[in-house]
C-alpha cells in the first residue's frame, strides 16, 4: 500500500543531530535514500559516519530531527524494533556470537526474525523453518563448509561475511554496512566486494568504506561527510570533481 512512497524513498533523515554533551557528532543531516541503490558513505576519520549509522540503527540517541523507514517514523525506536521494520547492519568491529558455530549464529538471526516471542516449549532443533532459513543464507554468503565451525575461529574475512549473513536474515530493505572490507586481505576483498554487490540486489545499502577505488566502483551514489555534516553527495564523477571534497580530503590527509 505504500509502494508508491517506497518507490521514492525507503529511508529518510530529517535534520538529525546526535550530540554528546556539547559535542555534536552529527548535525544538520537531511537525506533521502532511494530504494535499490548502493550508497557509499565516505569522509575523514571523525566525520561522524559511524555515528550517523548508529543513529539510523538505533545505537545512538538522536537528539534532534526525525528518521523515517518506509514513511514510518523510527526516531525513537530501539534497535531491535528497527530490525523488525527492515533495517539491518554490520559493525566496524565484528559483532558475532564467537563461541557458537556459524550455523548457530545464523539460526539465531533466523529465529529472531521469525518469532516475536521466543518459544520455550520445544528444543530449537525441532523448528525446521528457522534451520532452513539459516541454511539458505549459509550458502548465500559462501560459508557452506563452515557451518559447524565456531564462529570465533573463522578467518577475519569470513567473519565479516557471517556478519552480513546475520543482517540478511532479517530480510532488510535497508542494509547498513560499516567498513565490511576493513582488515580484509586483497584476494578475499574481491570476494567480499562480490558479496556486497550480490546482497545489494533489490535493497538499499549504505556502505562506509575507506578504500576509495572500491567505493567509486560499486556505489550508485556517494555521500561525503565532514565534521558531522553532509558535505556533498552525488555519483562518483560529481564527487571526484567537487572542489569542496578535494580541499576537505587533501587538507585532512596530507
Amino acid at each position: 500500500m505504500n509502494s508508491t512512497a517506497e518507490a521514492k524513498h525507503v529511508l529518510r533523515c530529517e535534520d538529525i543531530e546526535v550530540s554528546y554533551g556539547a559535542f555534536k557528532a552529527v548535525t544538520n543531516v537531511t537525506y533521502k535514500f532511494k530504494p535499490g541503490l548502493l550508497y557509499g558513505l565516505i569522509g575523514p576519520n571523525g566525520a561522524g559516519k559511524t555515528t550517523l549509522m548508529n543513529a539510523l540503527s538505533g545505537r545512538a540517541r538522536i537528539s534532534k530531527g526525525r528518521v523515517f523507514l518506509n514513511d514510518q517514523e523510527i526516531t525513537k525506536q530501539s534497535p531491535h524494533a528497527r530490525t523488525w521494520a527492515g533495517l539491518g547492519r554490520s559493525f566496524q568491529i565484528t559483532q558475532i556470537f564467537a563461541e557458537m558455530t556459524v550455523f548457530e549464529n545464523l539460526r539465531l538471526a533466523a529465529q529472531a526474525h521469525r518469532f516475536r516471542l521466543q518459544p520455550f516449549w520445544r528444543p530449537v532443533g525441532k523448528f525446521k523453518e528457522i534451520a532452513n532459513d539459516a541454511e539458505k543464507v549459509l550458502s548465500e554468503i559462501g560459508l557452506e563448509s563452515f557451518g559447524h565451525v565456531n564462529a570465533g575461529s573463522l578467518s577475519h574475512g569470513d567473519q565479516r561475511a557471517l556478519e552480513i549473513g546475520l543482517a540478511l536474515l532479517s530480510e532488510p530493505k535497508v542494509l547498513l554496512l560499516d567498513e565490511p572490507l576493513a582488515g580484509v586481505g586483497h584476494d578475499v576483498g574481491e570476494k567480499a566486494v562480490e558479496l556486497i554487490r550480490r546482497v545489494s540486489q533489490g535493497r538499499t545499502v549504505l556502505l562506509i568504506e575507506h578504500n576509495m577505488d572500491v567505493v567509486m566502483e560499486i556505489s550508485d551514489e556517494i555521500i561525503v561527510m565532514l565534521a558531522g555534516e553532509i558535505l556533498a553527495s552525488g555519483n562518483a564523477e560529481t564527487i571526484k570533481q567537487d572542489p569542496r571534497v578535494r580541499t576537505a580530503y587533501l587538507g585532512e590527509d596530507e
Binding site: Y20, G21, R59, A60, R61
Partner: protein, 285 residues
C-alpha cells in the same frame, strides 16, 4: 546544630570506610566484598597495638600498614591469576577472603569483644551549640578531611596519581610507557586495604570491636561508593557526607526509618543516575 556536627562525623567515618573500596574499584574494576573484613582486621590490629604500646596513635599508624601487607598478599596470590577472567570471579574471590579473614581474626583474637578508647587528647566532650559533643567526633571530622585532602593531592597532583590513572585508563598503553601495571595494581589494592584498616582503627573507640563488625559496614560502604560514583573519590566524599547527614537527621526525627531512607537514596541514585550522583561525566551509551 549539634546534629550537623555529628552528621559530619558520621559522614567522614563513612568516607574512611568507602575510600579504599572506591579506589580499588576505580583501578582494578573489582568490587571488594572483603573490604568490611579488612576494616575489622584494622580495628583488631589497632586494638592489639594499643595493648602493646599503650598508644592510640601507634595503632592508627601501624594497623593500616599491616593490613596493607595483607592486602598486597591477597592481590598477589589470589587476584592476579584471574584478572583476565570475568569480573564475577574476582568478586567470588573476595567472598572467599571474607571467610578466611574472619576466621583468622577469630583464631588470633578469639570470640570476646575487644575495646579501645579515644586517645587522651580527645577523650572528653566539648560544649557546642548547647550539647556536649565528644571531642573524638571532632577529631574524626578533622582526620577524615585530612585524609581526603591527602587522597586528592595524591591522585590529582602527584606522579603516583598520574601513574595510577594511566594504568587504570589504558593498561596496554601504560605498559608500553614502561609502567609496571601489575605492580600498580598490587599497590592500589594494598593501599585500599590499608585505608579500610585505617577506617577500622579510627572507628575502634566508637564501636564494639567484634567479629561481626565488618558484616554490616560493607553494605554502608557500598552505598557510599555507588552514590558517589564507582571509582570516584571526590564523589565518595560528597556521598559519605550526604549519607552521614541523612542518617543524622533521620536519627533525630525518625530513627526507625533511617536504614530505609538510606536505601531509598541508593536505589534512586541507581535508577536515575547509575554512574553516581556526583559523577561529572555525562551518561554515555
Amino acid at each position: 546544630m549539634s546534629t550537623i556536627v555529628i552528621g559530619l562525623s558520621m559522614g567522614m567515618l563513612l568516607f574512611l570506610l568507602a575510600a579504599g573500596l572506591t579506589l580499588i574499584f576505580g583501578m582494578l574494576r573489582v568490587i571488594n566484598f572483603a573490604h568490611g573484613s579488612l576494616y575489622m582486621l584494622g580495628a583488631y590490629l589497632s586494638f592489639q597495638m594499643v595493648n602493646l604500646t599503650g598508644s592510640f596513635w601507634v595503632g592508627l599508624a601501624v594497623a593500616p600498614m599491616i593490613a596493607a601487607i595483607v592486602g598486597a598478599l591477597m592481590e598477589r596470590i589470589a587476584l592476579r591469576p584471574v584478572y583476565d577472567r570475568d569480573h564475577v570471579y574476582q568478586l567470588l574471590l573476595t567472598f572467599g577472603f571474607i571467610l578466611v579473614l574472619d576466621e583468622a581474626v577469630r583464631i588470633i583474637w578469639g570470640l570476646e569483644y575487644k575495646q579501645m578508647y579515644p586517645p587522651e587528647l580527645f577523650s572528653g566532650a566539648i560544649e557546642m551549640f548547647g550539647s556536649s559533643v565528644p571531642s573524638y567526633r571532632l577529631f574524626i571530622i578533622g582526620f577524615g578531611a585530612a585524609i581526603s585532602a591527602a587522597l586528592f593531592f595524591m591522585l590529582d597532583r602527584s606522579r603516583y596519581g598520574m601513574i595510577i590513572r594511566a594504568a587504570s585508563g589504558d593498561p596496554e598503553m601504560a605498559r608500553t610507557l614502561g609502567i609496571n601495571v601489575s605492580l600498580v595494581r598490587t599497590g592500589v589494592f594494598s593501599f585500599g586495604a590499608g585505608l579500610a584498616a585505617l577506617g577500622g582503627a579510627a572507628a575502634g573507640p566508637l564501636f564494639p570491636i567484634e567479629l561481626g563488625m565488618g558484616f554490616n559496614i560493607i553494605i554502608d560502604s557500598f552505598i557510599v561508593v555507588i552514590i558517589g560514583g564507582l571509582g570516584n573519590i571526590r564523589g565518595a566524599v560528597m556521598a559519605a557526607l550526604l549519607i552521614g547527614m541523612t542518617r543524622a537527621l533521620g536519627y533525630s526525627y525518625a530513627p526507625s526509618w533511617v536504614d530505609f531512607l538510606t536505601f531509598i537514596l541508593l536505589i534512586g541514585t541507581l535508577i536515575l543516575r547509575p554512574e553516581g550522583l556526583f559523577s561529572r561525566k555525562g551518561r554515555t551509551a
